[in-house]
């Protein structure tokens, strides 16, 4: 799968924005089976506490080092994990393109996720920033790596769904 370099900065930004928007829509709609295909075959996905990043500690709260691991998470959500129903809603800031090297675009945005559980008010669940390496494949833009770096010091209850 070759990578494509796009000369037009505005076109890149628009395509990456679309990638993030589609990604968050997919999660909010709980179409989790469509989540791994947002990544390249060897894509990496991690949810990491900001404190660990700042202290240079390697632990991720959630880490998928392959698309297979992402699929296993989806199977767990559907068939294994026990949790009460909840809705998640992502709200993100605009994307930024930081740099490009060899067709790999370093991008990012801030995000917040609201959680709505049964019989409860909606509440802020987690906030932080995305840091993503995006490549353009023949199928469109894909995440080669997506780091979800969260500020939230205490996860409220359980983190079941991808962010």
């Amino acid at each position: 799968m070759g990578t494509i370099v796009i000369g037009d900065a505005a076109a890149v930004k628009s395509a990456v924005q679309d990638l993030f928007d589609s990604y968050m829509d997919c999660l909010d709609d709980e179409r989790f089976e469509e989540w791994p295909p947002f990544f390249t075959e060897n894509g990496i996905y991690k949810i990491v506490a900001r404190e660990n990043v700042e202290r240079d500690l390697p632990l991720a709260t959630w880490s998928c080092l392959s698309r297979g691991m992402m699929q296993d998470r989806v199977v767990a959500i559907r068939n294994a994990s026990v949790f009460s129903p909840r809705y998640m809603r992502h709200v993100a800031g605009g994307v930024r393109i930081f740099s490009e090297a060899g067709g790999v675009y370093s991008t990012g945005s801030s995000f917040s996720v609201f959680e709505t559980s049964q019989d409860e008010m909606s509440k802020v669940f987690i906030v932080g920033k995305y840091r993503a390496k995006v490549v353009f494949t023949e199928e469109g833009p894909r995440f080669q790596e997506l780091l979800v770096i969260y500020d939230t010091s205490l996860i409220p209850g359980l983190l079941v769904f991808p962010v």
């Binding site: 991720a60 959630w62 691991m69 949790f83 209850g157 359980l158 983190l159």
Partner: protein, 420 residues
């Protein structure tokens, strides 16, 4: 474990059910007066509480702030290299003298009136102690009989066991190993054998249930075989595996020990509705592991009274610290660690298997859900009780998983501490 006979003068609105520890009345999870008594008699009483790893504070001045129960405390390495601990509360007006979770400090100065303490918690400076000059004399300031050394930070007893730092409010506390007793010490030293430790990182979550439900969860092998589809299906922990439940003499500390089995049905799995024998992983590398302890045990979960869990699930190692936040919620802080001499492959296993644990753990999600569901349902049922008779009424050690013996043992210890 040493328990002291300390009479209690206050009284509670409730009495324990006459059946004893095979019942757990729901008021112990909800009543604010019970919670207050727990802070006083347990967390600030004759117990050892986990505060951090020595590896986090290797150099003089390195500190970590944390909590015992819900009381803020600080551990620090002082100039002479010794570990110190104190309550994070200025002797003047009570504000926190340390406002970061970790870092390095020369001293601790209260922001409010700049009272300054050295790394041992000793008060060394008070601004305007002698007042200000006016005319030929001075006005204001502390009285003549004010002594700096009468206003140090409240110090804690501190002990490190092979790199794991414990603190106690009881300055006459017996050493940690005596507190654990010989059997529990041997399990503790199985993981903490003196090799340098390396903190891999931290996960933290707030759970909306009473803190004791978390401890019970780790003393309860019954649920592990039934609730956790993931564990059960991959044979990581199951009722039909070689296993045991052991306690110390007081019952406060316990271990659940298990050996990994196969992913298949057996006589013992017929009742496990959740076993999915055909469950396959797209990326089975999650289950890659390496034997690293001399015995054949693949899971050893140790609970140390009152509120510490030592987790060894395959190669993922963590200390889970419970910070109480009132009767109906607690913070669970997961300190994942490895050893200083881990090679890259082993470090990789530990980090990958961390997916099983924490707020998004493939296993521990189920537990958090169960705890919160319990707490929600207790409301308006303070006078009713949980029924805990699996394996009988006693608290003896057993060589199987079909028992609630360790829960009963914990409440035997708890009732003694609490005088209820």
């Amino acid at each position: 474990m040493i328990r002291t006979e300390r009479p209690e003068t206050s009284s509670l609105a409730y009495t324990w059910p006459e059946e004893g520890v095979s019942r757990i009345p729901y008021w112990v999870y909800m009543d604010p007066e019970v919670y207050e008594r727990e802070q006083r008699r347990i967390f600030q009483g004759p117990t050892w509480n986990y505060a951090g790893l020595e590896a986090e504070i290797p150099n003089p001045g390195d500190f970590k702030s944390t909590f015992v129960g819900d009381c803020p405390v600080v551990i620090v390495r002082s100039k002479d290299g010794a570990l110190r601990g104190f309550v994070n509360r200025c002797a003047h007006r009570g504000s926190a003298v340390c406002r970061s979770r970790y870092g390095n400090a020369k001293d601790f100065t209260c922001i409010y009136h700049q009272w300054r303490y050295d790394l041992a918690g000793k008060l060394v400076a008070v601004p305007f102690r002698r007042g200000v000059p006016e005319g030929d004399g001075r006005v204001g300031g502390m009285p003549d009989d004010f002594q700096l050394n009468e206003h140090n930070l409240q110090s804690l007893k501190v002990e490190s066991v092979n790199g794991v730092v414990f603190v106690s409010f009881d300055l006459a506390m017996v050493p940690v190993r005596a507190y654990l007793g010989p059997l529990m010490t041997s399990y503790f030293e199985r993981v903490f054998d003196g090799r340098p430790l390396r903190l891999l990182g931290r996960m933290s979550q707030r759970v909306r249930s009473n803190w004791k439900l978390m401890m019970e969860n780790i003393k309860d092998p019954y649920h592990a075989s039934l609730l956790h589809v993931f564990l059960v299906s991959f044979g990581l922990f199951r009722a039909d595996q070689k296993s045991k439940v052991e306690m110390d003499e007081s019952g406060g500390h316990a271990v659940l020990v298990s050996r990994k089995g196969e992913q298949k049905h057996s006589g013992g799995t017929a009742e496990i509705a959740n076993l999915k024998a055909d469950y396959v992983l797209h990326d089975p590398s999650l289950l890659d592991r390496r034997k690293e302890f001399p015995d054949e045990n693949t899971v050893v979960m140790q609970t140390i009274f009152p509120a510490l869990i030592v987790q060894q699930q395959t190669n993922t190692l963590a200390l889970r610290q419970i910070v109480t936040r009132g009767p109906d919620q607690f913070d669970l802080i997961w300190d994942f660690f490895g050893y200083g001499d881990d090679d890259e492959q082993m470090a990789g296993y530990r980090l990958k298997q961390a997916n099983l644990m924490g707020p998004s753990g493939l296993v521990s999600i189920d537990d958090t859900e169960a705890l919160e569901v319990c707490q929600k349902s207790f409301v308006e049922s303070a006078d009713r009780s949980a029924f805990v008779e699996l394996g009988g009424h006693g608290w003896e050690n057993v060589n199987h998983m079909v028992t609630e013996s360790a829960i009963r043992a914990m409440y035997r210890c708890y009732r003694d501490f609490m005088q209820i």
